[in-house]
Amino acid sequence: MTFAWLPRAGRSLLVLIVIAALTCQLAIVLPGDPALVLLGQESTEAQRAALRHTLGLDQNAVERFVTFVGGVFTGDWGTSFTSGRPVLTEILSRVPATAELVILSQIVALAVTIPLALHSARNVGGRLDRLVSTGTFLLLAVPSFVVGILVIQLFAVQLGWLPASGYTPFTENPLDNLARMVMPVLTLGIAEGAVYLRALRGAAIESLRAPYAYASIVRGASDRQLLWWRILRPSSSTLLALVGISLAVSLGGTLLVESLFAIPGLGRLTVSALGARDLPVIQGVVLFAAMIVVLFGIITDIVISRIDPRSNRGIV
């Protein structure tokens, strides 16, 4: 078990600390007096003073940082302006929906991408391959929210197969939950699938052309064996890296998809918090999202170092 990833983990921790530092200063971005902006003209000075205290605006930057980080560790992430509930509770309650969305869409994206890419590698220039590469190219030009609208139009409005929006927790009614998840997952999955497909198709084709393919063919490898042995195993680390980044980018994507489909996840929480200028929630979400991205980065690094020994020597 190599610990090559440890220095990277340390670096990531440092990154998180910097992000926390920046996040707790977010109130500064507000033009003028933050308290006035947030509470409006009708507020009293007493209310504004109270708000300033909550936001730590009566402290200097360093003190604010310390209080903030201290709070983060003790689980006190502040209280939401709009709901009055603790920020951490709000965030955690939204995680299941978002997690389901992201995980399912990654599965769908990979399940479609990998076979298509392998097929393309074996039949470069063939009909399906050309269709796939043209299709991918066109699809990459369509932003996810447009895809979402089209998906809704097609499945909900025209065909009437699926309900247009809404969400039921899996624990309540699994079938309904999945039915409502089809379109959001499709939307997010298509967007990501297109990116994966372009990368994986390229990698797969390159692998088949690589010198070691010759050696394997002479040793009797069939196309399928070749693809697995020579392509999937070495390029799995590239794919994983992509998945790692994509998971992070997905978080942004969830903002759009969750809004479109009225899914009560982190994305939707962010959108409503921003709309209401609910600063504690905003800060909480930013920090939380960053933590997830960093965590996934570390996990990806670990997995890659197990699978692809080249990375441990810094060769990759």
Binding site: I19, V29, F145
Partner: protein, 281 residues
């Protein structure tokens, strides 16, 4: 492999069907036509995009209103073009400011190594770890959604990737003979930069410049779709698409045309980018 090293643009070195020459011409024409039309709109040559006209609500496309009108009687064509100009501004600022700063930072880090390199790398890591859409939305919402704010915030997120790319390019160029010779002969840092390094780095960055243009346009679109971009009634592509959603059944053109413009523009930029990449090979 640090987090920061994961961010390299996906190069499809695979043989794809070459972009037919026709495609490149069409793509370029589209972008030129769009730019001219947007300029015309901004100069006031089209119907006022903010003018409500209750006499002509939700009309389908016609000669007077090529893209139809929305539920307040506003001309969708003009609104779309104004939206185009907003997207164009964001895209250009992102590339010029973000790219400019990013490239300079990257080249500096690549030449100087040491502390400069470490700092740049670290800053890149920090920025990559930030969920960009969320942060941009946050800053824009808190600071007030104006075109400059939106452009500069998105530009800020373009800086690290430009820096990383130009750093790699610089590193490989710095080992080339002409650079080593120049440095040995005592050429000043500035001279080495402008005459030996930049001419090598800039062409390599071209495809990414195009990609960034497209990304910036999508980002602005997403932002305004969610309502965090330019405040209505200011037209922006994302905003128009969002507004039109409620009218989809009766007046699909309100969403349809802006969406079409958006997709065609991104497609054209991608076509050009791909063509450039192929031409270099």
């Amino acid at each position: 492999m640090a987090l920061s090293e994961l961010i390299t643009p996906v190069r499809s070195a695979a043989p794809r069907a070459r972009i037919p020459r026709v495609g490149v011409i069409v793509a370029s024409c589209w972008l030129v036509v769009l730019a001219v039309a947007a300029l015309a709109a901004v100069l006031g040559l089209t119907i006022d995009p903010l003018a409500n006209d209750y006499a002509t609500i939700s009309q389908s496309p016609s000669l007077a209103h090529p893209f139809g009108t929305d539920n307040l009687g506003r001309d969708v064509f003009s609104r779309s073009l104004h939206g185009a100009s907003a997207s164009a501004v964001v895209a250009l600022v992102t590339v010029v400011v973000g790219g400019g700063i990013g490239i300079l930072l990257g080249v500096w880090a690549g030449l100087r190594r040491g502390i400069a390199d470490a700092i740049t790398g670290f800053l890149t890591d920090v920025t990559i770890a930030l969920p960009s859409l969320i942060i941009v939305a946050t800053i824009v919402t808190l600071a007030g959604p104006s075109l400059p704010t939106i452009s500069l915030t998105i530009a800020a997120f373009a800086i690290p990737v430009f820096a990383r790319l130009s750093r790699s390019a610089t590193l490989s160029i710095a080992t080339e003979n002409h650079v080593i010779v120049a440095r040995t002969l005592g050429a000043s840092g500035w001279r080495v930069l402008t005459r030996e390094v930049l001419p090598g780095v800039l062409p390599v960055m071209m495809p990414f410049v195009l990609t960034t243009l497209a990304t910036a346009i999508v980002a602005e679109g997403a932002l305004s779709f969610l309502g965090f971009g330019l405040r209505p009634p200011e037209p922006s592509w994302g905003g128009l698409i969002a507004e039109g959603r409620t009218q989809l059944a009766l007046a699909p053109w309100v969403t349809g045309f802006p969406a079409l413009l958006l997709c065609l523009t991104i497609l054209s930029i991608n076509v050009l980018g791909e063509h450039y990449r192929e031409a270099k090979r």
